[in-house]
């Protein structure tokens, strides 16, 4: 009986192992295809590169030289880092204020933030791109403001939830000792909120790095492209489709995410699961 159970568990482990190998295989398929010559990618996607089909970094070079892949990665990084930094700093300050100040406008702002989380992007897609255009926010710096505005809902909701759990006494003591509100926030509140910064930071990073439609509609496409926009452009544009460059771009879009994931896995799984409340 005992042996039977043990072998059963062994078999379950092996089956799960096979299943997880199949599960990661798509990532390896795009990785090795990115080193194959173009025609061999779409004709034989499951074949590993051979001496005849191996092209080294040629696909990456094509992506960089012909499609501006490197600047695409650069803009995406700038937009992601800039927006996440702005959201973390400004939304946490906002959330602390509206949680601590007991006024009607605080409650209204909180309800509006929660409400904005439920609204699907298509509802504001057209008007948001028009508003951003009219205010000349169609640059990677301008789009940071758009992300701050559209991402504020979730961030404020999560920060407020945390602030409600912090005892008021610590802050009051700091203020009585002569701290200004700004100093109190940075010296007392900000350090306590560290776990929430990590959670919100992860959720927003994943969203903005991967986002397609918002930057596609807001940014001036002749000048600035994010990596998702470039991939869509390469595949969707008319004329010759450079499969090699697409594979290289897919790999470059995925690698930062995988590295971030493997280095901060615990926080990411916890953070993303906490974001499930967003619904």
């Amino acid at each position: 009986m005992k042996i039977g159970k043990k072998t059963g568990r062994g078999i379950a482990s092996i089956l799960l192992g096979i299943f997880s190998l199949i599960y990661v295989s798509p990532l390896f398929i795009i990785l090795f295809n990115s080193f194959k010559s173009q025609t061999n990618i779409s004709n034989e996607p499951f074949k590993l590169p051979s001496a005849a089909t191996w092209v080294g970094a040629a696909n990456y070079r094509a992506g960089i030289n012909d499609y501006g892949l490197l600047s695409g990665v650069g803009w995406t990084l700038l937009i992601t880092i800039g927006s996440v930094a702005a959201i973390l700093l400004l939304c946490s300050m906002f959330a602390w204020f509206i949680t601590r100040v007991n006024a009607i406008y605080s409650k209204i702002l909180y309800v509006l933030c929660v409400f904005s989380m439920v609204v699907p992007f298509q509802m504001v897609m057209y008007t948001l791109s028009q508003t951003a255009d009219a205010l000349r926010l169609n640059t990677p710096w301008g789009i940071i403001i758009v992300y701050l505005g559209f991402g504020a809902g979730l961030a404020v909701f999560m920060f407020s939830g945390f602030v409600k759990g912090i005892p008021l006494e610590i802050e009051e003591a700091a203020m009585i000792d002569g701290c200004t509100p700004v100093r109190t926030f940075f010296k007392v509140v900000l350090p306590i909120m560290q776990p929430t910064y990590i959670t919100v930071g992860i959720l927003q990073t994943m969203w903005i790095w991967n986002d397609f439609l918002l930057p596609y509609l807001v940014l001036d496409r002749n000048k600035y492209n994010t990596i998702s926009m470039l991939i869509q452009y390469m595949r969707g544009s008319f004329g010759v489709v450079h499969m090699g460059a697409i594979m290289a771009s897919l790999v470059l879009a995925v690698i930062p995410v995988v590295i971030l994931y493997l280095s901060a896995q615990k926080y990411i799984i916890e953070g993303v699961a906490a974001g499930a409340v967003k619904g």
Binding site: G10, V24, P26, F94, P120, Y126, T131, G149, T180, G279
Partner: protein, 280 residues
């Protein structure tokens, strides 16, 4: 404390508030208003009442997209949750390699929709090629292609929520049942699943809203092909805006209806969750 804090309103509230007005409040109100207008640019809007809404419901493609999306949502709801639940049960049995499996299953969830679409386009077309077929030949291939894609993307995520739920079930419940002579199946249906109802509710609504909101993956994998037959709701709205001049108002009316649908789903979730809380 509050007085001092109130005076620093400009520092704490103003930056986010301004961005929130630009990024959400103005577009939302403008969007509501424009759904009752005919327009090509925001400046030349003329009020037409409910005309855009009437035109929405006489648009066959829209109704088709709605049906396709609903069918897709039901299929993905069942598949994602059954597999995720099964994996969660297996991964809480302290098997060898549990941590590695969990890491792997969750990973695709972090990849963007456009990237996911092109990864699976390559793979699915690679398989179909053996039979001289392509993904965009038949809407059935596109449908199941999208299902495979969202399963790959979301199973790991739902699995994590189910694992968290399973870990809150007290061990003595199952022990007591075992002493009373319950077998594995009885324990699953009489203890595990009833105790897991909060997690099941969350995952159900998450998969349903994800299904209705699906856009990037749809655009990248099939782009609605063949002949707009795999065009889902969000893509249909997008194309009404940007694909047909003179239909911007109809696009906005569709977007408002889409918003109402999503809010309705959210309120339903809230009600179901609340009613569960009362029972406990």
């Amino acid at each position: 404390m509050e007085k001092a804090l109130k005076r620093s309103f400009p520092v704490f509230v103003l930056p986010t508030l301004l961005a929130f007005i630009i990024g959400f409040i103005v577009p939302f109100i403008l969007g509501l208003w424009l759904s009752f207008n005919e327009f090509i640019t925001v400046q030349d809007a003329t009020f037409v009442g409910f005309k855009n809404y009437v035109r929405t419901f006489s648009d066959d493609r829209f109704l088709y997209s709605l049906g396709f999306t609903a069918l897709f949502t039901v299929a993905s709801l069942i598949l994602i949750n059954v597999v995720a639940f099964a994996l969660a049960v297996l991964l809480t049995k302290k098997l060898k390699g549990t941590n590695i499996f969990r890491t792997i299953f969750f990973m695709p969830n972090l990849i963007g929709g456009i990237v996911l679409g092109y990864i699976w386009q390559l793979i699915i077309n690679g398989v179909l090629m053996r039979f001289n077929l392509v993904l965009t030949l038949n809407a059935v291939y596109g449908f199941w292609g999208l299902i495979i894609l969202v399963c790959w993307q979301q199973i790991g995520y739902m699995m994590i929520i189910y694992i968290a739920g399973l870990q809150t079930i007290p061990g003595d419940l199952n022990e007591a049942a075992a002493i009373d002579g319950a077998n594995g199946r009885q324990k699953l249906f009489r203890i595990t699943i009833p105790m897991m109802m909060p997690s099941i509710t969350i995952c159900t609504f998450l998969t349903v809203t994800n299904g209705f909101k699906l856009f990037d993956q749809n655009l990248a994998l099939t782009n609605g092909e063949p002949a707009r037959n795999t065009e889902m709701l969000a893509l249909n709205i997008y194309r009404t805006f940007y694909g047909r001049v003179g239909f911007e108002g109809v696009g906005q009316a569709k977007a408002v209806l889409f918003f109402i649908l999503v809010v309705f789903l959210g309120l339903m979730q809230l009600r179901v969750t609340r009613s569960k809380e009362v029972q406990h």
